[in-house]
């Protein structure tokens, strides 16, 4: 028996919990330890503190391994088990669900211990995993995230390390954004109108050069001061021949619709144009508009 487990054959060699001493709460391998907790032996009256100080049995085991150099192999299983069972009575007043996990850990340790003590069947020699492997893996895994939690806590975070900068906004009125309109939507709406218009009216809307319509509005705007303007001044030669023609057509159309007046005092004399549709009522806005119904009756000469 040269197995490492053989070394522990003589236990329990662990000293009893040192309740006779005042400060050290436990003694590990003969060394009194002042910090809480010292090893798996938890004095019942310290149990509550103990449970709060550690995040669970893995945390405790890690602590013991890293700080106390506890050899997991050197755990007196029988003693631990006996003590844990004793705790059950104490824990009834405490958070039992937390304590249960420590009991589970004790069971795991006991199981490891017992598996290591048992002789292995020769056939499985070399195949059976070390019973501690799973525990070690879990300890390592837990340690990573314990460290990650500490790193996370070190990050600059709002409220603790920084604060949002904000300026006052004197006017919090909500801006209204008009809806988007698809050109095709508008065209389709128009088509519907035209379909209905054909039902209601005898005159269909003719195809028109829209640039003339646009120019009509522009000419009217330029004439909005109700003054006579030189006929030539309405043209912009830079637009080229087509632009001149469009302007000319729009003037003819405006004249036909009696929206402008064209004056020539004598043959070959200068021609003047004046708006009959001047924006005289512009400033008066809505109230100046006639009733919609009478308005509708106003334009039969279309």
């Amino acid at each position: 028996m040269s197995e490492p487990t053989a070394q522990e054959a003589g236990h329990p060699v662990f000293p009893a919990p040192p309740q006779q001493q005042e400060m050290p709460l436990a003694v590990v391998k003969g060394q009194p330890v002042l910090q809480m907790p010292q090893d798996l032996y938890i004095p019942p009256d310290a149990l509550e503190v103990f449970l709060e100080a550690f995040e669970g049995p893995l945390d405790l085991l890690l602590y013991l391994i890293r700080r106390q150099n506890l050899d997991i192999l050197d755990i007196p299983v029988a003693e631990i088990t006996r003590q844990y069972v004793d705790y059950i009575g104490v824990m009834q007043d405490l958070r039992f669900e937390l304590a249960a996990e420590y009991l589970v850990m004790a069971a795991i340790l006991a199981e490891i211990k017992s598996r290591m003590l048992l002789p292995r069947p020769p056939a499985e020699e070399g195949h059976e995993a070390d019973p501690r492997a799973e525990l070690v893996r879990r300890l390592q895994e837990y340690e990573r995230f314990k460290k990650a939690a500490e790193d996370l806590d070190q990050l600059d975070r709002l409220d603790r390390d920084t604060a949002l900068a904000a300026a006052h906004v004197p006017d919090r009125s909500v801006a209204k954004v008009p809806p988007p309109v698809d050109l095709r939507e508008m065209l389709l709406a128009l088509r519907e109108v035209l379909k209905r218009a054909e039902l209601y009216t005898h005159h269909a809307i003719r195809r028109e050069a829209l640039s003339v319509r646009q120019r009509m509005g522009e000419v009217l705007s330029r004439l909005s001061d109700r003054q006579f303007h030189g006929f030539e001044t309405l043209f912009t030669p830079e637009e080229g021949r087509l632009g001149v023609v469009v302007t000319f057509l729009s003037i003819l159309e405006l004249a036909k619709e009696q929206l402008i007046e064209i004056v020539q005092e004598a043959p070959l004399a200068p021609i003047y144009v004046k708006s009959l549709a001047a924006a005289a009522n512009d400033d008066e806005g809505e109230p100046a508009l006639p009733e919609p119904t009478s308005d509708g009756a106003d334009a039969p000469n279309d």
């Binding site: 604060a163 900068a165 904000a166 300026a167 006052h168 906004v169 004197p170 009125s173 909500v174 801006a175 209204k176 954004v177 008009p178 809806p179 309109v181 698809d182 095709r184 939507e185 508008m186 389709l188 709406a189 128009l190 519907e192 109108v193 379909k195 209905r196 218009a197 209601y200 009216t201 005898h202 195809r207 829209l210 640039s211 319509r213 646009q214 009509m216 509005g217 009217l220 705007s221 004439l223 619709e257 009696q258 929206l259 009959l276 549709a277 924006a279 009522n281 512009d282 809505e286 100046a288 508009l289 006639p290 919609p292 119904t293 308005d295 509708g296 009756a297 106003d298 334009a299 279309d302």
Partner: protein
């Protein structure tokens, strides 16, 4: 104590505090054993105020203390943080807009004549507020009705150089394949008139005879 540090502290505190801060409150940020020298906070405030010349916020003093606030000149943009999308335009609005685009200059009465229903005042106002239509004059008939035309903003919005780029009316009638591509509901022609009456809440039906 470094005046720059004091200025940084005052600036950060004014930007972090939910309320305006008085000089006394600002002085209270410094621990007793490391008070800001007398006048240092006033000095920091003065410097911060000047430093706002080329910034989007300004440091102002109000009844309850000092605060940074958004400058009025950029408010129009900042206000868009709290935007509210208006509801989609109704069919009535789109029809009115289309008629103004294709038949300008046109009066409201003429639009009503073609549509067969009265045009809600809000419809016109909506389009005017969007600056897509404007009054280009008044027809010289009794009542002097306003003549509406479209604007450059209208052309810009739809990416048109001129109205000529709108499809001709004749073409419009012959493009049924337009329909399947449209993302919105197309009312089947059969029930179109019935549905249209619900388009706009305040829209009264004009008697069809009126348009003859």
């Amino acid at each position: 104590m470094d005046p720059n540090l004091i200025r940084h502290i005052v600036e950060a505190a004014l930007l972090a505090a939910p309320q305006p801060q008085t000089l006394a409150q600002l002085a209270g940020l410094f621990p007793e054993d490391e008070q800001a020298p007398p006048g240092a906070i006033e000095q920091a405030i003065a410097e911060l105020r000047e430093g706002c010349a080329d910034r989007g916020v300004e440091l102002v003093e109000v009844a309850s203390g000092f605060r940074f606030q958004v400058k009025a000149e950029v408010h129009a943009w900042v206000a868009r943080l709290w935007t509210e999308r208006q509801a989609k335009y109704t069919r009535a609005t789109l029809e009115t807009l289309a008629l103004i685009a294709y038949r300008q200059p046109i009066t409201r009465g003429e639009i009503e004549q073609i549509r067969g229903v009265a045009v809600n005042t809000n419809t016109i106002k909506q389009l005017e507020e969007r600056e897509w239509i404007r009054v280009v004059g008044h027809r010289d008939v009794p009542g002097k009705p306003a003549l509406f035309g479209t604007t450059k903003a209208f052309l810009d919005y739809f990416g048109l150089k001129s109205l000529d780029e709108l499809p001709p009316l004749a073409e419009l009638k012959d493009i049924p394949e337009l329909e399947p591509q449209l993302p919105f509901d197309i009312t089947p022609p059969g029930i179109a008139s019935a549905t249209l009456s619900h388009d706009e809440a305040g829209e009264e039906h004009a008697a069809p005879e009126q348009t003859q």
